[in-house]
Amino acid sequence: MPSGNTAAGCGGVRVKGDSLHETTHPVVTATAADDAALIQASLADPERFAGLFDRYAEEIHRYAGRRLADVAAADDVTAETFLTAFRKRARYDLSRPDARPWLYGIAANLIARHRRAEVRRLRALARLTGDLPEGGEQPFEQTSLDRVEARRLRPRLAAALAALSCAERELFLLVAWAELSYEQAAEALDIPMGTVRSRLSRTRAKIRRVLEAPR
C-alpha cells in the first residue's frame, strides 16, 4: 500500500476561489447554458438561486449517495452543497456557463469531510468493541472504510479504489462516477489540465495493477 493513503489523511479539496485556470471552457450543454445567467440574477434576487437546486440537486445527491455509506449523509451533503454554493455565488466565474463542475467541487469537499467523520466514528467504535487492526499493515479505519465500499462494489474494484490516494480517488470518481470531462474535473478540483491528465494516467495504471494481480 502506498503511504499517505489512509482515509483520515484525505484533506479537503480546494474549492475554487479566484485562482488562475489553464482549462478551456467546457462544452456548453443546452440545460446548462444559462447557469451563469441564473447565478448572476441571484445576486440581485437571491431566491432565484433555488433554480440551480432544481436543476442539479438530484444529480449531486446521486453522486453523494455513491460515495457515502448512508443516505442521511448524502442528504446532508446535498443540502450543504447548495447552501455553500449560495454563500459563495458572488465569486462564481460568470464566464463559465455550466455550474456543475463548481457544484461537484463543493460536494467533493464535503464528502471528504464526511469520510473523515466516518473514520472518527469507526475509530470510536473500535475502542468500544476492541476490534483492533488485523496484520497491522493498514490502519483499522482504512480497512473498515474499504469494507463499506466492498459491500456496494465488486470487492476487486473496491480493493483497487482502496489503493488510491485521496487526491487520485477524488479525481478518478468524478470522471468515472459523475462522468465529468477532464476539463470539468479540472475545474471542479481547481487543478490544471496537465495535472488531471498525469494523475489520471497514474491512477489507471495503479488500478490495472490491482485488477491484474493474482489473488
Partner: protein
C-alpha cells in the same frame, strides 16, 4: 474497456433522493436566500457529525441513524444511535409527508381495522368524592369504510381489553379502576339517541378521501369548524381536528401528505425530542399546548417518519395542577388494515 469505463459500468446504485429530504434541503436554501444571511451557518448543522453528549442535550428532536459515537455512550456497540440532527417541527412534518407511500384503497363495503394501545385520564365525580386515574386499554376497532351520516346506523365494532390502570399524578388509584382488568368486551359503535353526523366532522374513509389533497385546502378544512372563535383557540382546534383525522382512521396517502404539510404551517406547533409512545417506541413529538398547561403531540418514528401514536404531557404544573412532565395520555397505533367483515356485536340500542 478502460479502467474508467469499468468503474462507470460498476457504479453502486445510490438510494433515491427522498422527496421529503429534498423538499427540506430546498426550503432551507430558500430560507437562507430570504434571510439574506449568506454567511450564517444554520443552527441545525452544529451537531451534524458525532455531536458530544452536551450538544445532543441542547434542544429539539434528534434523528438517529448509524452507529453510536464513543463520546455519548458506554452502551454496547450494538445500540444504534448517532448522527444527531436538530429538526424543526416543519422539517419533521415535511419528512413525514415525504415518507407517505401509495397504498391500495379500500372499497366502501369493507372495514378499516385499527389496533392500538391507549392510556387516557378518567375523572370520576359523585358519591361525594372525586377520583382520578389513567385507564389503559388494548383496542381493535372495525370501522365501515363508508359510514351512514344517520347516527342510529352502527358505523363499526370495537373490542376493548382493559389493562392495569396507572396513577394520575398526585391521586390515589380508586378501587373501581381495577374492575374489569384483563377482561375484553365487544361493542357496537352506534349512537342510540340518533342525529346526523355533520359533514365537516366525519372521519370515515369515504369522507376522508374527499378532503383536499393540497396543503392550503387541508389547512382551510382544519380551521373550518372554528371560524368564529378567538385566534389561538382556532389554532388549537385546528390541531385537534388534525388528530381526529389521524386517530383510529385511514387517511388516504394524498390527504395524509396534505395534512402533514398543512400542520407545518400552524402557528405554535413545535418539536419535542425523545418521546415514547404507549408501546414504548421512541419517536419525535410534534405538537402544541392544547389546554391548561397540557401539551399534545403526534409522535413520529425517527427513521421512517411514520405516525406512531400520540401523547399528552404536562408542560405547566401551575395551570395543569400536576407535576411538569407528567404523562396524562399516551397511545400507540400498532396496525392499520382492511377487512371484509367485522365481528358480530349485539345491537346496543333496544328497539322499542
Amino acid at each position: 474497456m478502460n479502467e474508467i469505463e469499468l468503474f462507470t459500468n460498476e457504479r453502486p446504485d445510490p438510494a433515491p433522493y427522498d422527496p421529503g429530504a429534498k423538499a427540506m434541503a430546498r426550503d432551507r436554501l430558500v430560507a437562507a436566500a430570504r434571510a439574506g444571511q449568506a454567511g450564517a451557518r444554520p443552527a441545525w448543522r452544529r451537531p451534524l457529525t458525532l455531536a458530544t453528549a452536551g450538544a445532543l442535550a441542547l434542544a429539539g428532536a434528534f434523528v438517529a441513524a448509524g452507529v453510536l459515537p464513543a463520546e455519548t455512550a458506554r452502551r454496547p456497540p450494538a445500540a444504534t444511535v448517532t448522527q444527531a440532527r436538530l429538526m424543526s417541527a416543519a422539517e419533521v412534518l415535511h419528512r413525514a409527508a415525504g415518507a407517505v407511500a401509495e397504498e391500495p384503497a379500500p372499497r366502501d363495503d369493507q372495514y378499516i381495522v385499527v389496533k392500538s394501545q391507549t392510556m387516557y385520564p378518567a375523572f370520576q365525580m359523585g358519591s361525594g368524592k372525586e377520583s382520578r386515574y389513567l385507564y389503559r386499554t388494548n383496542r381493535t376497532i372495525w370501522l365501515k369504510a363508508k359510514a351512514s351520516t344517520d347516527l342510529r346506523e352502527p358505523y363499526g365494532v370495537l373490542t376493548v381489553e382493559n389493562l392495569e390502570p396507572k396513577e394520575y399524578p398526585g391521586w390515589p388509584i380508586p378501587e373501581e379502576a381495577h374492575e374489569g382488568v384483563g377482561k375484553s368486551e365487544t361493542l357496537p359503535l352506534v349512537n342510540c339517541d340518533g342525529g346526523t353526523m355533520p359533514e365537516h366532522l366525519r372521519t370515515d374513509y369515504a369522507a376522508l378521501k374527499r378532503l383536499p389533497a393540497d396543503a392550503a385546502g387541508m389547512r382551510e378544512h382544519l380551521y373550518a369548524a372554528s371560524k368564529d372563535s378567538k385566534s389561538d383557540f382556532r389554532d388549537r382546534a385546528a390541531f385537534g381536528r388534525a388528530g381526529d383525522l389521524l386517530r383510529e382512521t385511514y387517511l388516504p396517502p394524498a390527504q395524509r401528505r396534505a395534512l402533514y404539510e398543512a400542520l407545518a404551517t400552524l402557528p405554535g406547533v413545535s418539536v419535542a425530542g425523545d418521546v415514547t409512545d404507549a408501546a414504548g417506541r421512541a419517536g419525535i413529538g410534534v405538537g402544541m399546548e392544547v389546554y391548561d398547561g397540557v401539551r399534545q403531540d403526534l409522535i413520529f418514528d425517527p427513521a421512517t417518519f411514520e405516525l406512531l401514536g400520540e401523547r399528552e404531557v404536562v408542560v405547566d404544573a401551575g395551570k395543569a395542577k400536576a407535576p411538569e412532565g407528567s404523562l396524562l395520555a399516551s397511545t400507540a397505533q400498532l396496525e392499520v388494515s382492511v377487512a371484509d367483515t367485522a365481528p358480530a356485536a349485539e345491537d346496543g340500542c333496544r328497539k322499542n
